[in-house]
């Protein structure tokens, strides 16, 4: 009998093959279908998980998916993105500007039903500033605080070393009120596992690197969230996030790159939502570099770069151009009397010749590898190419984010670096924080070395009159512009792709998304 005949006669195998196929079909039918969202549940696919649900362990703005929606500070962004009373219903400042008294809103509850008192506020601030907590923003929040106390059950008082116009922002955006009794009962680890705040959403469940489930808090003091439940699904790959929306497994996904966004915008069943943000992209020009000491050279670089063309071709229009280092939504961003650096290669060459620029020596330019910021590598390459066209030789080095960050934040700056590409997100509408962190020359994060700028920064937060402060901020921005110490490129939009039944009414120009403002139609 031939081998083939024997195979055919192996009726047991034939039976097995047939029955396996049938069984597979039955098994697949029996398996539960991919879950579809309930009518009042919003599923958003996001790119990365939070580090910790404990807001005192902040590592990045991504953590605000929870911190910004489960917790609150004394003030919070309103629908226009301006700071408005939240846990504090009012706020008074003493005549000398050194004592801030916050009156807490009545009837506010934590998610476990405990009422919010001034003792909770005191506890929360103590915890945040305690070195044992390792809150990495303790210095930012507390360096200017002498002492603080609960004047009574509803009044919280902070005493400052010096006038600081950012006090309310610091106690609102970078810090949150936490429940004293609850944390003392469950401990820090218990609190991180099951956090309790006062925000419009409470955290129901979290599986690290899988999902975070939030539910609207039914006893929230403010406007009820538009969606009862929100699930944040952690999906690191962009294509997979989009696939989830296309398969109706999620109703929204972010972040989305400009290239993919341009394609998705044409698809009939999807919406592309652009939320203007304050993720500034900037080119720092090292005024300590031997070739860039002269203002004329730095200005030549600014005139040599065609920003509008780059914005269209690289960001596909999904960014807001910047002339001063701010957007029109930010106080102090007036362009009145500002001479823009419009693309003018002829003028750039003339300035370089007048400055006796040494064209033989290439300028070292450090850029950022793709992955963190949209079109970062392409932007750096385009800048290098623009400079080559006016005769400037460029030695472009694209670095992985860790290496780039180490170089950018090194205490001793590498003097051979002429230019460095960077992002500098504004956490709020106020430019002061960004200016301080990125341009005060004694800070490791700064690549601006200018005594006049340092002098202005020292006075920046000492104003009590808002209009005066706004005008002063404008002066700082103009100074940075006129001295060409940096070249702002644009502010990236935050892009969401959503299904047709999602209504995104979120305030623009915030560092995080307020989920309470997202609705299912």
């Amino acid at each position: 009998m031939t081998a083939r005949a024997q195979w055919r006669l192996a009726s047991r195998r034939g039976f097995l093959a047939t029955s396996t196929a049938a069984a597979s079909t039955l098994v697949l039918d029996a398996l539960p279908s991919p879950a579809r969202a309930a009518q009042d549940e919003l599923r958003i696919a996001i790119g990365a998980d939070i580090a910790s649900a404990d807001p005192d362990h902040y590592t990045a703005w991504n953590d605000y998916w929870v911190y910004g929606n489960v917790f609150e500070g004394l003030y919070a962004p309103d629908a226009q993105g301006n700071l408005a009373p939240a846990l504090a219903q009012s706020h008074e400042v003493s005549g000398d500007g050194l004592t801030h008294t916050f009156t807490l809103r009545e009837g506010v509850l934590f998610h476990n039903g405990d009422p919010v008192t001034a003792e909770d506020v005191v506890f929360s601030l103590k915890r945040s500033l305690d070195p044992a907590t390792q809150n990495q923003r303790a210095a930012l929040i507390g360096d200017n605080i002498v002492r603080f106390e609960a004047a009574d059950a509803r009044r919280f008082v902070v005493h400052l070393k010096a006038i600081d116009a950012e006090t309310v922002a610091k106690l609102s955006l970078y810090w949150q009120v936490k429940p004293r009794k609850y944390i003392e009962t469950v401990g820090d680890a218990g609190f991180a596992r099951k956090p309790v705040g006062t925000g419009p959403y409470e955290l129901l469940e979290r599986q690290p690197n899988q999902f975070i489930r939030l539910r609207a808090f039914d006893r929230y003091w403010g406007a009820k969230p538009k969606t009862a439940e929100v699930t944040l699904r952690i999906v690191p790959e962009e294509q997979s996030r989009v696939a989830q929306v296309m398969a109706a497994e999620a109703q929204a996904a972010t972040p989305i790159s400009p290239v993919l966004a341009a394609r998705l915008a044409k698809m009939p069943n999807l919406n592309l939502v652009r939320v203007p943000s304050l993720t500034n992209v900037v080119l720092f020009l090292n005024s300590r570099h031997e070739q860039l000491r002269k203002k004329a050279v730095r200005q030549a670089i600014c005139f040599a770069i065609d920003k509008p063309a780059m914005l269209q071709s690289l960001m596909l229009g999904y960014a807001v151009p910047e002339e001063l280092w701010c957007t029109s939504a930010q106080p102090g961003c007036s362009l009145d009397g500002v001479e823009p650096y419009t693309y003018d290669p002829v003028r750039a060459k003339r300035l370089l010749a007048e400055a006796d620029f040494d064209f033989a020596k290439p300028l070292r330019f450090v850029g950022m590898a793709p992955g963190r910021v949209a079109a970062s590598k392409e932007t750096c390459e385009a800048i290098a190419e623009s400079l080559k066209r006016v005769g400037i030789a460029v030695d472009l080095q694209i670095m992985e984010f860790g290496a780039w960050n180490a170089l950018k934040t090194a205490k001793e700056k590498d003097p051979s670096i002429a230019m460095i590409y960077a992002t500098a997100p504004d956490p709020s509408r106020d430019v002061a924080y960004k200016l301080l962190v990125n341009t005060r020359s004694d800070l490791a994060t700064s690549w601006v070395f200018d005594a006049a700028n340092d002098g202005m920064l020292a006075r920046m937060n000492s104003f009590t009159d808002q209009a005066e402060r706004t005008a002063f901020l404008n002066q700082i921005l103009r100074h940075l512009h006129d001295e060409a110490l940096l070249l702002p490129l644009w502010a990236n939009d935050t892009l969401f792709v959503t299904s047709r039944n999602v209504v995104f009414d979120v305030p623009p120009y915030l560092a995080y998304t307020i989920l309470a403002d997202v609705a299912l139609a």
């Binding site: 081998a3 083939r4 024997q6 195979w7 192996a10 195998r13 697949l28 398996l31 539960p32 279908s33 991919p34 990365a48 580090a51 910790s52 404990d54 362990h57 902040y58 590592t59 990045a60 070195p131 390792q134 990495q136 923003r137 303790a138 210095a139 930012l140 360096d143 991180a192 599986q207 690290p208 690197n209 899988q210 699904r233 952690i234 999906v235 690191p236 790959e237 294509q239 997979s240 696939a243 989830q244 296309m246 398969a247 497994e249 984010f401 860790g402 290496a403 960050n405 180490a406 950018k408 934040t409 205490k411 924080y433 962190v437 990125n438 490791a444 994060t445």
Partner: protein, 304 residues
């Protein structure tokens, strides 16, 4: 047998010790973690306090000594970013990867071995050629592409399975299939080649002369003889998948060690990198030990 086990145990311990040196040294060469783990506004004092809290201000030998002492106590440190024990972070991620690896391997064997057996035993040239093509094609296709194509076909166009995620049995199918495409083609190729060789042996010829049924000759005798390289390959492949099917886990948002270790490396989270590498290396060595023991079962000649 006891001698073999003892010898392998000693070799394993020495290898693990060398791995600790390598992973410890290499992670620290990647740079200062404070620049990534702390926000830009963190002061120099904050950075110094962070380094001190985690012993990063000590010299490397002191740090390594402390690391080893804690290692023997079962403590692999605390994740810089997550503020949780690194071993817990690693073990939480290991579960999903192990499950996916098992599913992927099972599917690979189910797809690959029958294909290889049919290709080896068929007398038709086109069948043999098909077997070789499958062997090459499967390995040439990038997992990223395979994963996305499977999502496009079987989750979007035909909504049979979820596009990504973890949780139900359906969630396993597409990522396991993605892993299986490359692995099953290698298994098919290896099975075909080794089985063809085994089928040319004298003892097989004798068995045919003796009138044994062909299916028995192939499955009970020839395949057994051809299986040693296949077992080696399966052990290695399982270890590779376990080491983090990074691309597959990323495409399918699978919360496994591949994702975790990439996050930890990019974030300079040394304790998590160390924990994952050590746990994976230990598992890999145990799998190889199991493979060696399986050889003894399959080939009695090795028992002497």
């Amino acid at each position: 047998m006891t001698g073999l086990l003892l010898r392998r145990a000693v070799e394993t311990l020495i290898t693990l010790l060398l791995i600790t040196v390598m992973v410890f040294g290499l992670t620290r060469l990647t740079g200062d973690p404070t620049s990534l783990l702390l926000p830009p506004e963190a002061t120099e004092a904050t950075r110094a306090a962070f380094r001190h809290a985690y012993g990063l201000d000590q010299n490397m030998f002191v740090q390594y000594e402390a690391f080893l002492i804690h290692l023997f106590e079962g403590d692999l440190g605390e994740s810089f970013r997550l503020h949780e024990p690194a071993i817990g972070v690693a073990l939480d991620a290991l579960g999903p990867t192990l499950k996916l690896a098992c599913a992927g391997m099972a599917l690979s064997i189910v797809l690959g071995m029958p294909f290889g057996i049919v290709a080896a035993t068929s007398r038709r040239r086109w069948v043999k050629r098909l077997g070789r093509w499958y062997g090459s094609l499967g390995q040439a296709l990038p997992p990223f592409w395979v994963g996305l194509i499977l999502v496009s076909l079987l989750a979007l166009q035909l909504p049979l399975f979820p596009t990504s995620g973890y949780g139900t049995a359906r969630h396993y199918v597409l990522p396991a299939l993605t892993l299986a495409v490359a692995t099953s083609s290698s298994i098919a190729s290896l099975t075909q080649a080794n089985l063809e060789e085994a089928l040319r042996s004298d003892f097989i010829h004798m068995e045919r002369v003796l009138g044994l049924p062909e299916w028995r000759i192939v499955l009970k005798h020839a395949l057994r003889n051809a299986s040693l390289p296949i077992v080696t390959f399966l052990a290695l492949q399982f270890g590779l998948i376990l080491g983090g099917a990074i691309v597959t886990e990323r495409v399918f948002a699978w919360p496994g060690i591949g994702q975790r270790i990439v996050e930890a490396i990019l974030g300079r989270d040394y304790p998590v990198v160390q924990a994952i590498v050590l746990i994976t290396a230990t598992l890999f060595m145990l799998i190889n030990l199991a493979a060696d023991l399986l050889y003894l079962v399959l080939d009695p000649r090795l028992r002497t």
